[in-house]
C-alpha cells in the first residue's frame, strides 16, 4: 500500500510494518530539543522520580530565547539549565550567542533525512525541509522523553501542497508561505503532516525551504516535509563537512519519500508566478494581504531575523536593498542573525558593514524580541514590520502594538521608506 512521508517514518521509528492515520504509536525520538525552557523542564523531570536522563546523547539544548539574559531571573534560568547539562552529561549544548535552536541544530549536522525530532518548541516543524520528522511538544512531554526516551504520537493525516511556476524578482518563499496560510487559514493544516512538492519548491535554496516548513506551525500542522534533492545533500555536506555521509542521506531520502498514490486528506496547487509580495497583518498570521493593500502604513521598527528569515540569503537581500541607502529617520532597523555562523558569513560577505552603514542595529544571534522577552520590544502604539513567523496580539511584549510579517526584502525596503513598502517602491 502506498504511504505518505509521515506514515513511512513513524512506522519505521515504531518498528511497525505499516501504520495508518489516526493510529497511536510509541515514538523514540532521535533528537529531543529544548531551549531556555530546559530549566523548567528539569524541575518537572525531577518530579517524575528518576535521576538520570535515559539517552543524554539524544538531547539538544540551546540558550536562545532570552539570550544574553536581560534580567537576573532570566540569568538564573540559564544557570539552572547549564547545571542540568553538566549533571546529565548533555553534549549537544549550545550556549548564549551560538544562535536559534532550529538554525543551530541544522548547522551542527544533527538533522538529516530520516531523523525523528521532538522539540519543546512549536516551530519544530522546521526540520522537515531536510527530510526529518519534526514536531512540537509541551514541557511535561519533554520531561517524559528525558525519563523514558519515548512518547506517544498519533499518526497524522497528510496534506499535499504543490507549488508550480517561477518566482518573480523579489518574490520569495516567505511570500508564497504567507499566501498559502492566508488561503488555507490558521487551522488549514491542523493535526496534519504537510508535504511540499513541485518545481517551484525544487528551485528553492535550502534557506528558502526552511521558511515553508518552519511556518507550517502557523497552519496548525504536526510536521511538514519538503522533497530532498542535490540542493539538500550539497547543503548538508557543506554544513557538516562530512561529504562521506552523503550516500546514507540519499538512501534515507529515497526510502522515506512519499509513494505515488499515497492517500492525502487534501491536495492543493499554488502558482508562484501569480504571487506578489504578501504581508500578514495584525493580529493573526492568516490575516494576509497583498503588499499593495497595506503599502504606506507607518512603521516605527523593522526587524530582520528569527528562525524563519534570519539566514545569510535574508541578510544578503536586505544588504542589496539598503546599499547606498539610509534607514528612514525615526525608524529603527534591528538585525539579528539566526546563528553565529550566519553572522560570520554575513561579516565576511560585507553585508554587516552595508547594513551598519545604512543605520541598522545588530543583536546577538538568538530569538531577539520575537516573543517579547527583550532586545527590541515596541512601545504601546508602535508598529513593527518583521520577518518573524508570528504576529499575535501582545507577542512582542505589549498588546497595544501592531506587528506586520513580510519577507526580508519588504522589511528592508520598509525600513528605508519609513512605511510599509516593497523593493520596487524605493
Amino acid at each position: 500500500m502506498p504511504h505518505t512521508f509521515a506514515e513511512k517514518i513513524l512506522a519505521q521509528n515504531a518498528g511497525l510494518p505499516d501504520v495508518t492515520p489516526g493510529q497511536i504509536i510509541t515514538a523514540t525520538p532521535d533528537v529531543a530539543l529544548s531551549h531556555d525552557n530546559t530549566a523548567a523542564i528539569s524541575k518537572i523531570f525531577r518530579g517524575i522520580g528518576v535521576n538520570r536522563v535515559r539517552y543524554p546523547e539524544r538531547l539538544a539544548i540551546t540558550l536562545d530565547h532570552a539570550s544574553p539574559p536581560p534580567t537576573t531571573r532570566h540569568a538564573q534560568n540559564h544557570a539552572d539549565a547549564r547545571r542540568f547539562v553538566a549533571e546529565q552529561g548533555v553534549t549537544h549544548f549550545f550556549d548564549v550567542g551560538r544562535g536559534i535552536c532550529h538554525q543551530v541544530l541544522t548547522e551542527e549536522g544533527l538533522i538529516f533525512p530520516g531523523v525523528l525530532l521532538l522539540g519543546a518548541d512549536s516551530h519544530s516543524t522546521h526540520y522537515g525541509a531536510l527530510g526529518a520528522f519534526g514536531a512540537g511538544v509541551g514541557r511535561s512531554e519533554m520531561a517524559a522523553i528525558w525519563a523514558t526516551g519515548q512518547l506517544w504520537l498519533r499518526v497524522p493525516e497528510s496534506i499535499k501542497i504543490t507549488i508550480t511556476g517561477q518566482f518573480s524578482p523579489w518574490i520569495t518563499s516567505k511570500d508564497i508561505t504567507l499566501h498559502i496560510i492566508g488561503q488555507l487559514g490558521a487551522d488549514g493544516g491542523l493535526y496534519a503532516s504537510v508535504e511540499f512538492h513541485g518545481p517551484a519548491v525544487a528551485a528553492m535554496s535550502m534557506s528558502s525551504r526552511f521558511v515553508l516548513t518552519n511556518m507550517m506551525a502557523e497552519m496548525g500542522a504536526k510536521n511538514a516535509w519538503v522533497m530532498q534533492d542535490a540542493v539538500t545533500f550539497d547543503w548538508l555536506a557543506a554544513q557538516t563537512g562530512a561529504p562521506e555521509r552523503r550516500p546514507a542521506w540519499e538512501a534515507a531520502a529515497r526510502q522515506l519519500a512519499p509513494d505515488p498514490g499515497a492517500r492525502y486528506a487534501a491536495e492543493y496547487t499554488f502558482d508562484a508566478s501569480a504571487v506578489e509580495p504578501q504581508v500578514a497583518c495584525p493580529h493573526t498570521v492568516d490575516n494576509v494581504q497583498p503588499l499593495s493593500a497595506v503599502a504606506g502604513t507607518r512603521i516605527d521598527q523593522a526587524f530582520l531575523g528569527t528562525c524563519t528569515n534570519g539566514r545569510l540569503e535574508d541578510l544578503a537581500a536586505a544588504a542589496q536593498i539598503l546599499k547606498g541607502r539610509q534607514v528612514a529617520s525615526g525608524v529603527r532597523l534591528l538585525v539579528i542573525p539566526a546563528s553565529s555562523r550566519v553572522y560570520m558569513a554575513a561579516l565576511q560577505a560585507g553585508y554587516v558593514e552595508t547594513l551598519l552603514t545604512a543605520g541598522a542595529v545588530f543583536g546577538t544571534p538568538g530569538c531577539g524580541p520575537c516573543m517579547g522577552n527583550h532586545f527590541g520590544i515596541p512601545a504601546p502604539g508602535e508598529v513593527t514590520i518583521s520577518t518573524a513567523n508570528r504576529n499575535f496580539q501582545g507577542r512582542m511584549g505589549t498588546r497595544d502594538s501592531e506587528i506586520y510579517l513580510a519577507s526580508p526584502a519588504v522589511v528592508a525596503a520598509s525600513a528605508a521608506a519609513g512605511k510599509i513598502a516593497g523593493p520596487e517602491d524605493i
Binding site: G49, V50, V137, G138, A147, G372
Partner: protein, 178 residues
C-alpha cells in the same frame, strides 16, 4: 481573587460551572503572554496572568469549575505549556471548543485538564450559562436542559487523565516498576 489550585488536578466524572465564551482562533500568546514564560513560574502567579491579553476580566472573576467555551483552533501557536497550566491553576474545570491547536490539546491532557471537541455544544452555550459535563458518559448538558454527546476519549488520553496528568501517571509507572 480566584481560588488557587496548587495540587495536581484529577479529572472528576462530573464538571459543573459557569461558561466563559470566546470566539475562533484564540492563540497561546493571548492566553499566557510570552514575556512571562521564563519568569512567572509559581501557580498563583500564573493564574493571575491567565487570558491576560484576551479578557482582562477573566483572572479576577473566574471561579473553580468554570468552563471555557470557544470556537475553532483554541490554543493555536506556541508550545508553551503554561497556556494550559495557567487555566488549571485558575480553577478552570474544562474547555469545550470546535477544535484545538494540537500542542495545546496535548498540554491540557498532560496537565489533567479536560478538553472536549463539540461544535454543537459551542453553538448552544452562551457566556454566563451553567454547563455540566459527564465525562464517563460523554454528555454535555446546558442549563436549559439541552444535551450534546461527545466521542469517547482516546485510550492513551484516558490513561493519562485517569492518572491525574502525564507526570503523576509516569511517576506511578516508575514506582510500580520498582
Amino acid at each position: 481573587m480566584p481560588q488557587i489550585h496548587n495540587s495536581q488536578p484529577t479529572i472528576q466524572n462530573s464538571i459543573r460551572g459557569r461558561v466563559w465564551k470566546y470566539g475562533d482562533g484564540v492563540n497561546t500568546d493571548v492566553i499566557f503572554p510570552g514575556k512571562y514564560t521564563y519568569t512567572v513560574t509559581e501557580p498563583a502567579e500564573m493564574a493571575r496572568h491567565a487570558l491576560e491579553d484576551l479578557d482582562p476580566a477573566f483572572a479576577a472573576n473566574v471561579q473553580p469549575g468554570d468552563v471555557i467555551v470557544a470556537g475553532k483552533n483554541w490554543g493555536n501557536g506556541s508550545s508553551r505549556e503554561q497556556a494550559a497550566a495557567c487555566l488549571v491553576h485558575a480553577g478552570v474545570g474544562a474547555v469545550i471548543a470546535e477544535s484545538f491547536g494540537r500542542i495545546w490539546y496535548r498540554n491540557a491532557i498532560n496537565n489533567g485538564l479536560l478538553a472536549v471537541t463539540c461544535a454543537p455544544a459551542v453553538a448552544a452555550l452562551n457566556a454566563g450559562d451553567v454547563v455540566e459535563i459527564d465525562v464517563q458518559a460523554g454528555v454535555i448538558t446546558t442549563g436549559a436542559g439541552q444535551t450534546f454527546r461527545f466521542p469517547p476519549l482516546d485510550p492513551a488520553v484516558q490513561a493519562i487523565l485517569a492518572g491525574g496528568g502525564l507526570i503523576p501517571y509516569l511517576k506511578q509507572q516508575f514506582q510500580s516498576a520498582g
